[in-house]
């Protein structure tokens, strides 16, 4: 469903160094790695928000170029860590901005909102609030609703739970997993938490300094780390609780 080939990107220094990544239809891939390894940059390139220096991106079999960019973006829902909601619009207006632009029938839109309200487990009375009146968890649920409004086959998420406090985060992780399963989306989720990556992803891609160093199910990464860095990364993420 998503196929990125040989992506390179250099700012002051090389951020992506020939990365290739494939996400099969209906699967969830967790992209994980330390800060600054290039995972968010890769996500933005797949979304078409920044251009790659070289390499190509294919979405649902279509190669991305400037001509089909807007259309391909609408096949992907995008959720970021925080602050992605439009501050001057209510939650509902955030949801309907794109459907109004596409002139979708209002009954269909209402039906869709109702369905997503149930799916994302949000109180529909909250939808008339502006983002500043929503808690972090509520805002992320609205962000997810907005990403799913057009029922895109793909979801791209950049640390969607990164700034949510632990209790709510746990609840949202469960909700997300069941949503992914239920909707049968192809999902790429960026996180720096190995536990979350393992919990949500069918497969994990581990990045280090602009390259993917290992891909596969969590068991394989723990049992057969590809190199010393992977081993260190896995060990560093073990909870201090395990030692008690």
């Amino acid at each position: 469903m998503i196929s990125a080939q040989d992506i390179t990107k250099t700012y002051d220094q090389r951020v992506l160094d020939g990365v290739s990544l494939t996400i099969p239809a209906g699967k969830t891939v967790s992209l994980i790695g330390p800060s600054g390894c290039g995972k968010s940059t890769l996500l933005r390139i797949i979304m078409g928000l920044i251009p790659a220096d070289s390499g190509s991106v294919e979405i649902a079999g279509e190669k991305m170029h400037s001509g089909n960019m807007l259309e391909l973006r609408r096949k992907m829902g995008y959720v970021i860590q925080t602050g992605g909601l439009f501050p001057h619009l209510t939650a509902r207006e955030n949801l309907t901005l794109v459907t109004n632009f596409l002139k979708l029938d209002s009954d269909t839109v209402e039906e869709r909102i109702e369905k997503l309200t149930t799916l994302t487990n949000i109180d529909s009375s909250l939808l008339d609030r502006k983002p500043e009146k929503l808690s972090g968890g509520q805002a992320q649920r609205v962000s997810l609703m907005r990403a799913l409004m057009l029922n895109p086959p793909i979801l791209l998420m950049d640390e969607p739970l990164g700034s949510i406090d632990p209790l709510v985060r746990h609840e949202l992780q469960n909700d997300l997993r069941s949503i992914f399963r239920e909707l049968n989306k192809s999902v790429l989720i960026v996180t720096h938490d190995l536990g979350e990556a393992a919990f949500l992803g069918d497969s994990i891609s581990l990045m280090q300094s602009g390259r993917i160093v290992q891909e596969g199910p969590i068991r394989e990464i723990i049992d057969n780390p590809a190199n010393e860095f992977v081993e260190q990364f896995v060990n560093a993420q073990r909870s201090p609780l395990e030692g008690l």
């Binding site: 807007l70 973006r73 609408r74 860590q81 925080t82 794109v98």
Partner: protein, 491 residues
């Protein structure tokens, strides 16, 4: 929610209002008379206006347009049809460098430029230097040469006199004077300074009634430095006979004493310019003229309409221009410095200079004033539009683009609405500045609250100055309050 809708609606309202108000610059067919900034010139202008109107022609008087250069170029550019001037001024200031030794040569030189000159009106308003009589007597000063011995005296000269060839620079070299302090100031204020003792020597017009009123001593021009300043009327060629007759009837008709008397009636007895001119026409030519001395409320109303007309149109156009410029500065990175730099430089030009720069392009009246105000209003709006959009957090912009919305829609639905408080603050700043700067528009014939201020300075009348200054301040506060209200409404 269509948050943006109020902008076009507001603009339409403003434009509709300004179209409905009649331009202070009247119909095109009228004969346009200019005057310099001092009372005698204004009285002569009133005489000419009433005289021309008594011949059945339409005339408009632009009082206090400025100094010789502004009036001369306005006449050359056909912005005005006539104005009163003085032979010495024309020779020394306008045609400087040409060898002109008599009136006939002067007439011919002007004729070559398409300008006609009336015969002298009958009085000679020469320059002179004057002091308080007691002070001059106690120091034993009788002639201008005597000033050489007193470098400790403070000189206060009108600004035009300060840099005229036949003014201070000429006197200084001719008489070899080296006073310690020489200040430029408005002529009407010089008498006050003299009275208060803050200046000792001033330039005078020999028809100034203050000479007698303040008991001043005129210092003898013992080196015969000052030329004759015979009052004449300059007018463009090709005017209709009745109009020319209305001008030439004043030839030889106003004596020195009569001019001094008229100046006194306005400056000291505080009669209205138009009333003094009207009674002169009646006494001398048996011409009955109608002039309407408008009442206080009517004047305030007219000045308010003129002022709003300047402010509303210039600000409206500035908003229409500045918001797109601000957006452009955000979107086209190589234009950012150019746009912000250019409007920034515009702001650094002194407002008075900017007004004068507009004269060669737009002539005199409301148009050049609006152009200057327009340029002046750009910066705060451009800068705040630019800053307001730039300040939108990256996650918001990324989310908007990720939704697959086109850039134009993002601009309309996301960027501009989020930037509105900032843009509005910019418009508020521009509006308040604009209301203040517009008072200077009166200097180039645009009317408004500056008109009574200017006349008040000329006549040394505090009530008249306040008649312009107080409404201008109130309007600025009103504008501020109005925008504060709108700001509170939308946030």
């Amino acid at each position: 929610m269509e948050k943006m809708n109020w902008i076009p609606v507001l603009l339409l309202l403003l434009l509709a209002k300004s179209c409905a108000t009649v331009s202070p610059v009247a119909a095109q067919e009228s004969i346009k008379i200019g005057t310099k900034a001092f009372t005698e010139s204004v009285i002569l202008g009133e005489l000419l206006e009433q005289s021309i109107e008594s011949e059945g022609a339409d005339a408009v008087l632009f009082k206090q347009l400025g100094g010789t250069r502004i009036l001369w170029s306005a006449l050359r550019n056909r912005e005005i049809d006539l104005y009163p001037d003085y032979t010495g001024t024309i020779i020394e200031e306008i045609l400087a460098g040409q060898e002109i030794s008599n009136t006939e040569q002067l007439r011919q030189a002007l004729r070559d430029l398409g300008i006609r000159m009336s015969r002298p009106l009958g009085f000679n308003n020469t320059y002179a230097l004057g002091m308080k009589r007691e002070k001059a007597e106690s120091l034993g000063i009788q002639t201008m040469s005597d000033l050489r011995e007193h470098p400790e005296l403070t000189f206060g000269f009108s600004n035009e006199f300060m840099d005229r060839r036949d003014g201070w620079p000429g006197i200084q070299s001719e008489y070899g004077l080296n006073p310690r302090r020489v200040n430029g100031l408005e002529h009407a204020l010089a008498y006050r300074g003299l009275e208060a003792g803050s200046i000792d020597v001033i330039d005078l017009y020999s028809t100034d009634p203050e000479i007698e009123y303040y008991n001043l001593a005129i210092l003898e021009d013992d080196l015969n430095f000052f030329p004759d300043y015979e009052a004449v009327v300059l007018y463009r060629e090709g005017m209709d006979d009745p109009v020319v007759n209305a001008i030439t009837r004043f030839e030889g008709a106003i004596s020195q004493q009569e001019m001094i008397a008229m100046n006194k009636q306005v400056k000291i007895d505080r009669l209205a310019d138009e009333a003094v001119a009207s009674s002169f026409l009646k006494d001398t030519f048996k011409i009955e003229t109608e002039f309407s001395r408008s009442g206080f409320t009517e004047r305030i109303l007219r000045h308010t309409v003129d002022h709003l007309y300047l402010v509303v149109i210039s600000l409206g156009l500035a908003i229409l221009m500045a918001i797109p410029l601000g957006v452009l500065a955000v979107k086209v990175s190589w234009l950012e410095t150019a746009v912000l730099g250019t409007v920034g430089i515009m702001q650094t030009i002194p407002s008075l200079a900017l007004l004068v720069f507009m004269i060669p392009i737009f002539g005199i009246g409301a148009l050049p004033a609006m152009a200057a105000l327009f340029l002046y209003s750009l910066l705060p709006i451009v800068r705040n539009t630019h800053a307001g959009i730039k300040a939108i957090p990256m996650p918001v912009m990324e989310s908007a683009r990720a939704l697959g919305l086109p850039d134009s829609l993002i601009l309309r639905k996301i960027e501009l609405p989020i930037a509105i408080p900032s843009i509005l603050a910019g418009i508020k700043t521009s509006a308040v500045i604009n209301v203040g700067v517009a008072t200077l528009g009166a200097l180039i014939g645009a009317g408004g609250y500056g008109q009574p201020i200017l006349t008040g300075i000329r006549l040394d009348s505090i009530p008249l100055i306040l008649e312009g200054a107080v409404p201008a301040a109130l309007l600025a506060m009103l504008v501020q309050g109005l925008f504060d209200l709108i700001e509170r409404k939308i946030t």
